[in-house]
């Protein structure tokens, strides 16, 4: 633990040192400066930025998908970010889970992630939940991003978000391919509308069995973060009533339309 504390301290002092060395005068308005490259976008606005600052987002899973998702959402200025993960950092995680470093081995992932995110954006509230996901966690959230790595968890997060009416961005990656989908419960198709039958355990390979390349997870997580920003800032073009199937071996991005099912046990009216 001492080694890790020294490591975090070193990052902090390096950041302070380089900032002091390169820029003597503080910017006139740090808030504008921090978010200037997104504020300058035609699609973005002060209202969009304020919507982000007022939002509470839960990132379920602090691994390969959760790392880019939480990094981009914290950087973009989401006001309250919760990070859920019940695992601890393992050596086999490090090639793809970029919020965790070698000195973090054995540290709970939720805490390891939050420590880095706090360095990234000290102006927001970031909370670690070292626990398994449960449905009560989505209450009061403006958006949930599912970065879990099992079908069981994915269906559980979808059901909880549908029941609570909380928007959700789904994602999954294995090997060199993945999938992303944005869901507005009660308005657009949910994950179970798209995939009604949960695969039986063992029917599909996990990351541990099939492997995954770090950048492939980075692409899918980045797409999830982008969809999350679109939903939170109410931008046009969110990936709703469809999912994006991404094959990074062939560079094929396939957008597949999906319809809401009236008889969907998770989101249907019946």
């Amino acid at each position: 633990m001492n080694e890790r504390r020294a490591f975090l301290k070193a990052i902090a002092s390096a950041a302070v040192g380089s900032a002091a060395g390169s820029k003597p005068a503080p910017p006139p308005d740090p808030w504008l400066e921090r978010y200037s490259r997104q504020l300058v976008l035609p699609q973005w606005s002060e209202a969009a930025q304020r919507a982000l600052a007022d939002a509470s987002v839960l990132v379920v899973g602090a691994g390969a998908l959760g790392s880019p998702v939480a990094t981009y959402l914290a950087g973009a200025g989401v006001g309250r970010l919760g990070v859920v993960d019940d695992g601890a950092v393992e050596l086999s995680n490090l090639h793809r889970q970029h919020l965790h470093f070698t000195p973090d081995l054995g540290v709970p992932k939720a805490h390891s992630a939050v420590a880095k995110l706090a360095f990234l954006n000290p102006d927001i509230v970031i909370e670690p939940y070292q626990a398994e996901f449960n449905a009560a966690m989505v209450e009061g959230q403006d958006l949930v991003v599912d970065c879990t790595d099992s079908f069981a968890a994915r269906y559980a997060v979808n059901a909880a978000c549908c029941a609570a009416g909380v928007p959700l961005v789904e994602g999954g990656v294995v090997g060199m391919s993945g999938l992303v989908m944005a869901i507005l419960p009660g308005e657009t198709a949910c994950y179970r509308c798209a995939f009604p039958q949960e695969p039986p355990p063992g029917a599909t390979p996990t990351c541990a069995q099939a492997g995954v390349l770090g950048p492939a997870a980075g692409v899918i997580g980045s797409l999830q973060a982008l969809e999350a920003l679109k939903v939170l800032a109410r931008l046009d073009g969110a990936l709703t009533d469809a999912f994006l199937q991404v094959d990074l071996a062939t560079h094929e991005f396939l957008r597949v339309s999906v319809r809401r099912r009236e008889d969907c046990p998770d989101c249907g009216a019946a």
Binding site: P28, L32, E33, S36, V40, E46
Partner: protein, 69 residues
């Protein structure tokens, strides 16, 4: 109607346009904003960005007058 004014002459790109853009977002369509820019980069970029965003733009010396569209 009083014209809103903004002085970005001590800022550098892209903060000149960020400030201007945020100020324009506070205006109703048809309202005008006069932006004082420094010579050089700002006086080139602010009018161009405003025109690209679809607003009416007129430059008078170092004052960029923008009508929100």
């Amino acid at each position: 109607m009083p014209v809103r004014t903004l002085d970005v002459s001590d800022l550098t790109c892209p903060m000149t346009w960020v400030r201007t853009k945020l100020e324009l977002e506070r205006l109703e369509v048809g309202e005008a904003l006069e932006v004082r820019c420094a010579e050089g980069e700002a006086l080139e970029n602010v009018p161009r960005s405003a025109a690209d965003a679809g607003h009416d733009v007129r430059v008078d010396g170092r004052i960029v007058r923008i009508v929100r569209r």
